[in-house]
Symmetry: C2
Subunit: 180 residues, 2 copies
């Protein structure tokens, strides 16, 4: 799948077929995604692949939008390294997560992010995957082959802002506040 096609067609997938995702495939995604850039090449990420049903059920209760984790075939818990730069760390996790989801999409596998929150859940998730002291289990991505018209089944409004309301030249237009 071409990058342009993958980027345009990736949607959150929250309903999954019972088709398993094998270890080799997950390994390939991480092996590609690990080339993602990060602040000072810190690679502030580890990935814990969770298939255990009881662990998935527990993770699915650890965020307001985590319910799909209970039915996914596999979740990757993204565990962030300790460090002083919260913006860069979250930004870098977003970069590597997008790579992982695009790679899965190319393989016909859907995904959906669940941010683990509030802080008590993040700590509980860290305990579940036995994250070392100081590391934090910030989010989990559920993966599975999509079922039906799945992309439209999310809790959020669909659609996206048009490019004309997102891309400006040199400066924001004076009328920006009116656009919102």
């Amino acid at each position: 799948m071409r990058v342009d096609q993958a980027v345009r067609s990736l949607r959150a997938t929250r309903t999954y077929a019972p088709t398993p995702i094998d270890d080799e495939r997950v390994g390939r995604w991480v092996d590609a995604a690990r080339w993602c850039g990060s602040s000072k090449n810190s690679q502030p990420w580890r990935f814990v692949a969770v298939r255990d049903r009881e662990s998935l059920r527990r993770l699915s209760g650890m965020g307001d939008f985590a319910r799909h984790l209970s039915t996914c075939q596999l979740a990757l818990v993204l565990v962030a390294a300790p460090g002083p730069y919260p913006f860069s760390r979250a930004f870098d996790l977003g970069r590597v997560a997008q790579s992982l989801m695009l790679l899965a999409h190319e393989d016909g596998v859907g995904s959906c992010v669940a941010v683990l929150e509030p802080r008590a859940n993040l700590i509980a998730a860290g305990g579940l995957v036995r994250a070392p002291e100081g590391w934090s289990a910030e989010l989990a991505i559920g993966f599975g082959h999509p079922v039906g018209e799945n992309a439209s089944s999310g809790p959020s409004p669909r659609g996206r802002l048009p490019t004309a309301e997102l891309l400006f030249w040199e400066t924001f237009p004076a009328r920006h506040d009116a656009l919102r």
Copy 2:
């Protein structure tokens, strides 16, 4: 370019050929990247394309690793919407930035992120692009056609951790602290 190939081969590009990047191409990148998922579909991003040499020179002084912005052909300043969830916002910016850089890479255009910091610089950058009150110019991505062995010219150590040190199954291994 296949997703897998693009994800594996994308590297930070900090030295740029004088080949211009036309408006239509930038528009296509944003038109594809805008389909990126975000927390509650908030799409907490705007993109300001900067080509003005004096603006680029000023941006290049607004972060410790922003120097390449002075010589890029075009910078996209990513401006974040106001909002109460700093983790999700930074994570979502990372997702959309990764899409943009992969799209550019597919077109043969290199890129490199510059986080704008500290806070005074972020405010100065917001002023430069006339970001509305409350919005913040968190980072800029420099774009340009790569020159030579460019990927190796960065200030950070090269290479990446092997998959075996990044991907675990069900839980972290007990030996993880020893690996670091």
